[in-house]
Protein backbone atom coordinates (compact mmCIF):
# COMPACT_ATOMS: atom_id res chain seq x y z
CA UNK A 1 0.00 0.00 0.00
CA UNK A 2 2.75 2.37 1.00
CA UNK A 3 4.74 1.53 -2.12
CA UNK A 4 1.76 2.24 -4.37
CA UNK A 5 1.30 5.68 -2.80
CA UNK A 6 5.02 6.39 -3.06
CA UNK A 7 5.17 5.35 -6.72
CA UNK A 8 2.04 7.31 -7.48
CA UNK A 9 3.45 10.43 -5.85
CA UNK A 10 6.74 10.22 -7.76
CA UNK A 11 4.90 9.75 -11.05
CA UNK A 12 2.64 12.65 -10.09
CA UNK A 13 5.67 14.83 -9.41
CA UNK A 14 7.13 13.97 -12.83
CA UNK A 15 3.87 14.83 -14.59
CA UNK A 16 3.61 18.11 -12.67
CA UNK A 17 7.13 19.11 -13.73
CA UNK A 18 6.48 18.01 -17.32
CA UNK A 19 3.16 19.86 -17.37
CA UNK A 20 4.73 23.04 -16.04
CA UNK A 21 7.50 22.92 -18.65
CA UNK A 22 4.96 22.33 -21.39
CA UNK A 23 2.85 25.22 -20.13
CA UNK A 24 5.86 27.53 -20.21
CA UNK A 25 6.82 26.40 -23.73
CA UNK A 26 3.26 26.92 -24.88
CA UNK A 27 3.14 30.44 -23.40
CA UNK A 28 6.46 31.37 -24.99
CA UNK A 29 5.62 30.00 -28.43
CA UNK A 30 1.95 31.04 -28.57
CA UNK A 31 2.49 34.50 -30.02
CA UNK A 32 5.20 33.50 -32.55
CA UNK A 33 3.00 30.62 -33.81
CA UNK A 34 0.04 32.93 -34.42
CA UNK A 35 2.39 35.43 -36.09
CA UNK A 36 3.85 32.70 -38.31
CA UNK A 37 0.38 31.55 -39.35
CA UNK A 38 -0.75 35.10 -40.09
CA UNK A 39 2.35 35.68 -42.18
CA UNK A 40 1.56 32.50 -44.09
CA UNK A 41 -1.99 33.66 -44.83
CA UNK A 42 -0.64 37.02 -46.04
CA UNK A 43 1.91 35.23 -48.26
CA UNK A 44 -0.79 33.00 -49.68
CA UNK A 45 -3.03 36.01 -50.39
CA UNK A 46 -0.17 37.76 -52.16
CA UNK A 47 0.49 34.62 -54.21
CA UNK A 48 -3.04 34.39 -55.59
CA UNK A 49 -3.44 38.16 -56.13
CA UNK A 50 -0.27 39.97 -57.06
CA UNK A 51 -0.01 43.66 -56.20
CA UNK A 52 -3.39 43.73 -54.51
CA UNK A 53 -4.39 45.15 -51.16
CA UNK A 54 -6.64 43.12 -48.96
CA UNK A 55 -9.45 44.29 -46.72
CA UNK A 56 -10.36 42.73 -43.41
CA UNK A 57 -11.27 39.08 -43.18
CA UNK A 58 -15.04 38.79 -43.75
CA UNK A 59 -16.65 35.76 -42.14
CA UNK A 60 -19.41 33.90 -43.92
CA UNK A 61 -23.00 34.42 -42.79
CA UNK A 62 -23.96 31.78 -40.25
CA UNK A 63 -26.97 30.86 -42.40
CA UNK A 64 -24.70 29.99 -45.34
CA UNK A 65 -22.24 27.78 -43.49
CA UNK A 66 -24.35 24.64 -43.86
CA UNK A 67 -24.62 25.25 -47.58
CA UNK A 68 -20.93 26.02 -48.06
CA UNK A 69 -19.20 24.09 -45.28
CA UNK A 70 -15.69 24.42 -46.79
CA UNK A 71 -15.71 28.17 -47.37
CA UNK A 72 -14.69 29.78 -44.10
CA UNK A 73 -14.13 33.46 -44.92
CA UNK A 74 -13.10 35.83 -47.66
CA UNK A 75 -11.14 39.02 -48.31
CA UNK A 76 -11.87 41.75 -50.80
CA UNK A 77 -8.88 42.33 -53.06
CA UNK A 78 -8.41 45.84 -54.38
CA UNK A 79 -5.90 47.13 -56.90
CA UNK A 80 -5.55 50.94 -56.93
CA UNK A 81 -8.64 51.18 -54.70
CA UNK A 82 -10.78 49.34 -57.24
CA UNK A 83 -12.33 45.98 -56.47
CA UNK A 84 -10.34 43.40 -58.42
CA UNK A 85 -11.74 40.23 -56.94
CA UNK A 86 -12.04 38.10 -53.86
CA UNK A 87 -9.70 35.78 -52.01
CA UNK A 88 -11.44 32.97 -50.18
CA UNK A 89 -10.07 31.04 -47.26
CA UNK A 90 -11.08 27.41 -47.61
CA UNK A 91 -10.84 24.54 -45.15
CA UNK A 92 -11.84 21.20 -46.61
CA UNK A 93 -12.25 18.07 -44.53
CA UNK A 94 -12.15 15.76 -47.54
CA UNK A 95 -8.36 15.46 -47.62
CA UNK A 96 -6.61 12.13 -47.17
CA UNK A 97 -4.69 13.29 -44.10
CA UNK A 98 -7.09 15.64 -42.36
CA UNK A 99 -8.02 19.21 -43.18
CA UNK A 100 -6.50 21.08 -46.10
CA UNK A 101 -6.50 24.84 -45.69
CA UNK A 102 -5.93 27.05 -48.71
CA UNK A 103 -6.67 30.36 -50.42
CA UNK A 104 -8.57 30.64 -53.69
CA UNK A 105 -8.53 33.89 -55.62
CA UNK A 106 -11.35 34.84 -58.02
CA UNK A 107 -11.21 37.94 -60.18
CA UNK A 108 -14.32 39.96 -60.93
CA UNK A 109 -13.75 39.17 -64.62
CA UNK A 110 -14.82 35.64 -63.77
CA UNK A 111 -11.69 33.51 -63.63
CA UNK A 112 -9.57 31.92 -60.95
CA UNK A 113 -6.41 33.88 -60.21
CA UNK A 114 -4.77 31.03 -58.37
CA UNK A 115 -4.80 28.83 -55.31
CA UNK A 116 -2.22 28.55 -52.57
CA UNK A 117 -2.08 25.90 -49.84
CA UNK A 118 -1.61 27.19 -46.29
CA UNK A 119 -1.81 24.00 -44.31
CA UNK A 120 -2.06 20.36 -45.28
CA UNK A 121 -1.11 16.99 -43.87
CA UNK A 122 -1.35 14.87 -47.01
CA UNK A 123 1.02 11.98 -47.67
CA UNK A 124 4.51 13.34 -48.51
CA UNK A 125 5.49 12.55 -52.07
CA UNK A 126 1.86 11.93 -53.07
CA UNK A 127 -1.00 14.13 -51.89
CA UNK A 128 1.40 16.73 -50.56
CA UNK A 129 2.23 17.52 -54.20
CA UNK A 130 -1.01 19.51 -54.23
CA UNK A 131 1.07 22.40 -52.88
CA UNK A 132 3.45 22.26 -55.86
CA UNK A 133 3.02 24.52 -58.91
CA UNK A 134 2.53 21.54 -61.23
CA UNK A 135 -0.84 20.85 -59.64
CA UNK A 136 -2.04 24.13 -58.19
CA UNK A 137 -1.16 26.26 -61.21
CA UNK A 138 -3.70 24.28 -63.23
CA UNK A 139 -6.42 26.34 -61.57
CA UNK A 140 -5.06 29.65 -62.81
CA UNK A 141 -7.28 31.31 -65.42
CA UNK A 142 -9.94 28.61 -65.22
CA UNK A 143 -13.41 30.06 -65.69
CA UNK A 144 -15.62 30.26 -62.64
CA UNK A 145 -17.67 27.22 -63.59
CA UNK A 146 -17.80 23.78 -62.02
CA UNK A 147 -14.48 21.95 -62.46
CA UNK A 148 -14.00 18.20 -62.71
CA UNK A 149 -10.99 16.02 -61.91
CA UNK A 150 -9.69 13.77 -64.68
CA UNK A 151 -6.96 11.14 -64.65
CA UNK A 152 -5.07 12.05 -67.78
CA UNK A 153 -2.35 14.47 -68.74
CA UNK A 154 -4.43 16.49 -71.17
CA UNK A 155 -7.21 18.15 -69.20
CA UNK A 156 -9.81 20.24 -71.01
CA UNK A 157 -10.89 23.79 -70.25
CA UNK A 158 -12.88 22.91 -67.15
CA UNK A 159 -10.84 19.90 -66.10
CA UNK A 160 -8.08 19.41 -63.57
CA UNK A 161 -5.53 16.65 -64.05
CA UNK A 162 -5.30 14.60 -60.84
CA UNK A 163 -1.99 14.08 -59.02
CA UNK A 164 -1.03 10.50 -59.82
CA UNK A 165 -1.81 8.15 -56.91
CA UNK A 166 -3.48 11.00 -55.01
CA UNK A 167 -6.95 11.27 -56.51
CA UNK A 168 -8.57 11.84 -53.11
CA UNK A 169 -6.46 14.94 -52.48
CA UNK A 170 -7.01 16.25 -56.02
CA UNK A 171 -10.77 15.81 -55.65
CA UNK A 172 -10.83 17.37 -52.18
CA UNK A 173 -9.13 20.53 -53.44
CA UNK A 174 -11.28 20.71 -56.58
CA UNK A 175 -14.53 20.15 -54.68
CA UNK A 176 -13.65 22.98 -52.32
CA UNK A 177 -12.75 25.25 -55.25
CA UNK A 178 -16.12 24.38 -56.81
CA UNK A 179 -17.84 25.38 -53.61
CA UNK A 180 -16.08 28.74 -53.73
CA UNK A 181 -17.15 29.16 -57.36
CA UNK A 182 -20.77 28.37 -56.54
CA UNK A 183 -20.66 30.73 -53.58
CA UNK A 184 -19.18 33.47 -55.73
CA UNK A 185 -21.69 32.95 -58.54
CA UNK A 186 -24.80 32.77 -56.38
CA UNK A 187 -24.05 34.86 -53.30
CA UNK A 188 -21.55 37.48 -54.37
CA UNK A 189 -22.41 38.23 -57.99
CA UNK A 190 -26.11 37.43 -57.75
CA UNK A 191 -26.71 38.65 -54.21
CA UNK A 192 -24.66 41.38 -52.59
CA UNK A 193 -23.16 42.99 -55.64
Amino acid sequence: MREIIRNGLILFAITVIAGTLLGITNEVTKAPIIEAQKAKTQDALANVFENADFGDEIALDAALITEYPFVSSYYEATINNELAGYAFKVVTSEGYGGNIEFIVGLSIEGHITGIDIIKQAETPGLGAKAAEPEFKDQYIDKKTEVLTVVKNDAPGDLEISAISAATITSKAVTNAVNQVITYYNTELIGGVQ
Partner: protein, 209 residues
Protein backbone atom coordinates in the same frame (compact mmCIF):
# COMPACT_ATOMS: atom_id res chain seq x y z
CA UNK B 1 39.55 3.82 -30.36
CA UNK B 2 38.30 6.41 -27.89
CA UNK B 3 35.41 5.05 -25.85
CA UNK B 4 33.01 7.92 -26.63
CA UNK B 5 33.66 7.54 -30.34
CA UNK B 6 33.02 3.83 -29.93
CA UNK B 7 29.63 4.59 -28.35
CA UNK B 8 28.66 6.69 -31.36
CA UNK B 9 29.95 4.16 -33.88
CA UNK B 10 28.01 1.49 -31.99
CA UNK B 11 24.77 3.36 -32.72
CA UNK B 12 25.56 4.00 -36.36
CA UNK B 13 26.95 0.60 -37.38
CA UNK B 14 27.11 -2.25 -34.86
CA UNK B 15 23.64 -1.68 -33.43
CA UNK B 16 22.07 0.48 -36.10
CA UNK B 17 18.48 1.02 -34.89
CA UNK B 18 16.96 0.27 -38.29
CA UNK B 19 19.15 -2.35 -39.90
CA UNK B 20 20.27 -4.30 -36.82
CA UNK B 21 17.74 -3.67 -34.04
CA UNK B 22 14.82 -3.25 -36.47
CA UNK B 23 13.20 -0.62 -34.23
CA UNK B 24 11.05 2.34 -35.24
CA UNK B 25 9.69 0.82 -38.42
CA UNK B 26 6.60 3.05 -38.53
CA UNK B 27 8.35 6.36 -39.35
CA UNK B 28 10.94 4.48 -41.41
CA UNK B 29 8.31 3.17 -43.77
CA UNK B 30 6.07 6.24 -43.74
CA UNK B 31 8.35 9.27 -44.12
CA UNK B 32 11.15 8.06 -46.36
CA UNK B 33 9.50 9.12 -49.61
CA UNK B 34 12.33 11.61 -50.13
CA UNK B 35 15.84 12.15 -48.79
CA UNK B 36 14.88 15.49 -47.26
CA UNK B 37 11.93 14.04 -45.34
CA UNK B 38 14.03 11.10 -44.13
CA UNK B 39 16.86 13.26 -42.87
CA UNK B 40 14.50 15.83 -41.32
CA UNK B 41 12.66 13.11 -39.43
CA UNK B 42 15.99 11.60 -38.38
CA UNK B 43 17.26 14.89 -36.98
CA UNK B 44 14.04 15.60 -35.07
CA UNK B 45 14.25 12.11 -33.55
CA UNK B 46 17.94 12.69 -32.77
CA UNK B 47 17.07 15.82 -30.76
CA UNK B 48 14.37 14.01 -28.79
CA UNK B 49 16.61 10.97 -28.22
CA UNK B 50 19.45 13.02 -26.73
CA UNK B 51 17.08 15.06 -24.54
CA UNK B 52 15.12 12.06 -23.27
CA UNK B 53 18.23 9.93 -22.69
CA UNK B 54 19.72 12.83 -20.74
CA UNK B 55 16.63 13.39 -18.57
CA UNK B 56 15.98 9.72 -17.94
CA UNK B 57 19.54 8.84 -16.98
CA UNK B 58 19.57 11.89 -14.70
CA UNK B 59 16.48 10.57 -12.90
CA UNK B 60 17.32 6.88 -13.12
CA UNK B 61 17.71 6.54 -9.36
CA UNK B 62 14.51 8.44 -8.57
CA UNK B 63 12.05 6.71 -10.90
CA UNK B 64 10.66 3.56 -9.24
CA UNK B 65 10.91 0.54 -11.54
CA UNK B 66 7.20 -0.26 -11.28
CA UNK B 67 6.10 3.05 -12.82
CA UNK B 68 9.09 3.56 -15.08
CA UNK B 69 7.26 3.08 -18.39
CA UNK B 70 4.58 5.74 -17.75
CA UNK B 71 7.29 8.04 -16.40
CA UNK B 72 9.40 7.57 -19.57
CA UNK B 73 6.40 8.18 -21.79
CA UNK B 74 5.53 11.41 -19.95
CA UNK B 75 9.13 12.62 -20.32
CA UNK B 76 9.39 11.64 -24.00
CA UNK B 77 5.98 13.06 -24.92
CA UNK B 78 6.85 16.35 -23.21
CA UNK B 79 10.08 16.70 -25.18
CA UNK B 80 8.32 15.86 -28.44
CA UNK B 81 5.60 18.43 -27.79
CA UNK B 82 8.23 21.05 -27.00
CA UNK B 83 10.12 20.30 -30.24
CA UNK B 84 6.78 20.46 -32.09
CA UNK B 85 5.86 23.87 -30.63
CA UNK B 86 9.33 25.33 -31.09
CA UNK B 87 9.48 24.24 -34.72
CA UNK B 88 6.02 25.71 -35.34
CA UNK B 89 7.08 29.00 -33.83
CA UNK B 90 10.61 29.48 -35.10
CA UNK B 91 11.28 27.09 -38.00
CA UNK B 92 8.07 27.17 -40.00
CA UNK B 93 9.51 25.79 -43.24
CA UNK B 94 10.90 22.68 -41.56
CA UNK B 95 7.65 22.26 -39.66
CA UNK B 96 5.71 22.40 -42.92
CA UNK B 97 7.81 19.61 -44.38
CA UNK B 98 7.54 17.33 -41.35
CA UNK B 99 4.32 18.52 -39.70
CA UNK B 100 2.41 15.35 -39.08
CA UNK B 101 5.43 13.20 -38.34
CA UNK B 102 6.73 15.15 -35.36
CA UNK B 103 4.03 13.91 -32.93
CA UNK B 104 4.77 10.40 -34.20
CA UNK B 105 8.18 10.50 -32.51
CA UNK B 106 6.34 9.83 -29.22
CA UNK B 107 5.49 6.33 -30.37
CA UNK B 108 8.89 5.71 -31.93
CA UNK B 109 10.16 2.55 -30.23
CA UNK B 110 13.80 3.64 -30.54
CA UNK B 111 13.28 6.47 -28.06
CA UNK B 112 11.50 4.30 -25.50
CA UNK B 113 13.81 1.39 -26.32
CA UNK B 114 16.98 3.35 -25.56
CA UNK B 115 15.42 4.80 -22.40
CA UNK B 116 14.64 1.31 -21.13
CA UNK B 117 17.71 -0.54 -22.40
CA UNK B 118 20.38 2.11 -21.90
CA UNK B 119 19.59 5.43 -20.24
CA UNK B 120 17.94 3.83 -17.19
CA UNK B 121 21.15 1.94 -16.36
CA UNK B 122 23.98 4.22 -17.46
CA UNK B 123 25.60 7.53 -16.61
CA UNK B 124 24.37 10.80 -18.05
CA UNK B 125 27.42 11.23 -20.28
CA UNK B 126 27.20 7.75 -21.78
CA UNK B 127 23.43 8.09 -22.26
CA UNK B 128 23.81 11.32 -24.19
CA UNK B 129 26.50 9.71 -26.36
CA UNK B 130 24.24 6.71 -26.89
CA UNK B 131 21.40 9.00 -27.92
CA UNK B 132 23.71 10.80 -30.33
CA UNK B 133 24.95 7.56 -31.89
CA UNK B 134 21.51 5.98 -32.18
CA UNK B 135 20.04 9.21 -33.55
CA UNK B 136 22.78 9.50 -36.18
CA UNK B 137 22.33 5.84 -37.13
CA UNK B 138 18.59 6.40 -37.49
CA UNK B 139 19.12 9.59 -39.52
CA UNK B 140 21.62 7.89 -41.83
CA UNK B 141 19.34 4.89 -42.41
CA UNK B 142 16.29 7.08 -43.14
CA UNK B 143 18.37 9.33 -45.36
CA UNK B 144 19.67 6.42 -47.43
CA UNK B 145 16.24 4.81 -47.79
CA UNK B 146 14.72 8.18 -48.72
CA UNK B 147 17.49 8.91 -51.21
CA UNK B 148 17.04 5.58 -53.01
CA UNK B 149 13.24 5.83 -53.08
CA UNK B 150 13.32 9.41 -54.30
CA UNK B 151 15.95 8.72 -56.96
CA UNK B 152 14.48 5.58 -58.48
CA UNK B 153 10.84 6.25 -57.65
CA UNK B 154 10.45 9.88 -58.65
CA UNK B 155 13.63 10.64 -60.59
CA UNK B 156 14.53 13.37 -58.13
CA UNK B 157 17.41 14.06 -55.78
CA UNK B 158 16.75 16.32 -52.77
CA UNK B 159 13.80 17.79 -54.68
CA UNK B 160 15.92 18.50 -57.77
CA UNK B 161 14.05 17.07 -60.76
CA UNK B 162 16.69 14.98 -62.52
CA UNK B 163 14.28 12.98 -64.64
CA UNK B 164 12.65 16.04 -66.19
CA UNK B 165 16.10 17.36 -67.10
CA UNK B 166 16.70 14.33 -69.32
CA UNK B 167 16.20 14.71 -73.08
CA UNK B 168 12.80 13.62 -74.36
CA UNK B 169 14.22 10.66 -76.26
CA UNK B 170 15.62 9.20 -73.04
CA UNK B 171 12.40 9.95 -71.17
CA UNK B 172 10.51 7.81 -73.67
CA UNK B 173 12.83 4.89 -72.97
CA UNK B 174 12.85 4.88 -69.18
CA UNK B 175 10.32 5.73 -66.48
CA UNK B 176 10.75 6.26 -62.73
CA UNK B 177 9.66 3.16 -60.80
CA UNK B 178 6.82 4.95 -59.05
CA UNK B 179 5.96 1.95 -56.83
CA UNK B 180 9.11 2.80 -54.87
CA UNK B 181 7.58 6.07 -53.66
CA UNK B 182 4.39 4.27 -52.66
CA UNK B 183 4.05 2.26 -49.46
CA UNK B 184 5.12 -1.15 -50.91
CA UNK B 185 8.32 0.47 -52.19
CA UNK B 186 9.33 1.25 -48.62
CA UNK B 187 9.29 -2.45 -47.76
CA UNK B 188 11.15 -3.43 -50.93
CA UNK B 189 13.94 -0.86 -50.52
CA UNK B 190 14.25 -1.54 -46.80
CA UNK B 191 14.45 -5.32 -47.37
CA UNK B 192 17.23 -4.96 -49.92
CA UNK B 193 19.17 -2.56 -47.68
CA UNK B 194 18.73 -4.94 -44.72
CA UNK B 195 20.35 -7.70 -46.73
CA UNK B 196 23.23 -5.55 -47.97
CA UNK B 197 23.92 -3.99 -44.56
CA UNK B 198 23.91 -7.29 -42.70
CA UNK B 199 25.99 -8.99 -45.36
CA UNK B 200 28.71 -6.37 -45.00
CA UNK B 201 28.43 -6.41 -41.22
CA UNK B 202 28.77 -10.19 -40.96
CA UNK B 203 31.70 -10.19 -43.39
CA UNK B 204 33.47 -7.58 -41.25
CA UNK B 205 32.77 -9.61 -38.13
CA UNK B 206 34.16 -12.75 -39.72
CA UNK B 207 37.29 -10.84 -40.71
CA UNK B 208 37.71 -9.52 -37.17
CA UNK B 209 37.61 -13.07 -35.80
Amino acid sequence: MDSSLKKIKNGIIDENPIFVQVLGMCPTLAVTTSAKNGIGMGLATLAVLIASNFAISLMRNIIPSKVRIPAYIVIIASFVTMVDLLLQAYMVSLYDALGLFIPLIVVNCIVLGRAEAFASKNTVKNSVLDGLGMGLGFTAALGVIGLIREFFGAGELFGFKLYEALPDAVQGQIQPISILVLAPGAFIVMGILFAVFNHINSKNKAKAE
